[in-house]
Symmetry: C2
Subunit: 168 residues, 2 copies
Amino acid sequence: MAPAESKTLTARPLTREAFAPFGDVLDIGGDPPKPMNGDRALRYHALAEAQVSGSDARVIVSIAVSKPVSGLVEIAMVERHPLGSQVFMPLDDGGLLVVVCPDEGGRPGRPEAFIAIWGQGVNYRANVWHGVLAPIERQQSYLIVDRDGPGVNLEEHVFEAPWFVRVS
Amino acid sequence: MAPAESKTLTARPLTREAFAPFGDVLDIGGDPPKPMNGDRALRYHALAEAQVSGSDARVIVSIAVSKPVSGLVEIAMVERHPLGSQVFMPLDDGGLLVVVCPDEGGRPGRPEAFIAIWGQGVNYRANVWHGVLAPIERQQSYLIVDRDGPGVNLEEHVFEAPWFVRVS
């Protein structure tokens, strides 16, 4: 059975403007770069800031490898991290489904879906509701920049009824 | 004229063991991963830590695009950053020449050269002498995780006579 229209999301291209309420877009489409290493390289500077809080918090760099999604994708839950931002930068080709929600009194509101294309990553600001990794049609690896340290840095919310978005 | 043998370096594969004096290797070849997002993803956790010092310092995420090197590469200078570590993670295919030097009384000692293959990045610890970005044979993009903030965070050293390393 097809999901109710009211529970179906339409994915949009990932742009700085549309994603601004939730975090940063990591790509070379923003401000012009600065020269680096003399004239050998160009640097697209400070696309995001890693922000962590809590005592003994540190910024760590990890790699993740995720299974793909395809077709009509069910969004059953979202999560957020009160104590730190979180970068996901794809390390290989393919599209990435990015789902985020505005916060409405401590609970996620209606989700918004974006498609990141090859060369685009995201930085979720601390406490922004977001879906799990969802590369489209093929496995993808990511560089992650996030927080490590003591404290409860994970909140999950399972929707009463799941949302759906078609990605392929 | 070929460079003097005494000034010629031999590049080695990039391994955790060999690179340990200088920083971290970012790849999936180390400790086993942990499950993430249920069983949908695997996380190679905390491969590196971004360490910054100085007041008002922040950890930022940038992208750089670098011209390639090829053939016999001249290493005329190295640099270091006293106030912060620096991650370079390739975002597309190709090899990367990584040159680092031990410190000898505030000056760089004999350089060591490594070749990072596709899927490998590096984190230079603060104050480690290193060469500029040097992708082999083809342009490469990088995700950079490093420091932004006030203070002098760059020291450069030009060698009296350059070093050389053959990469292709």
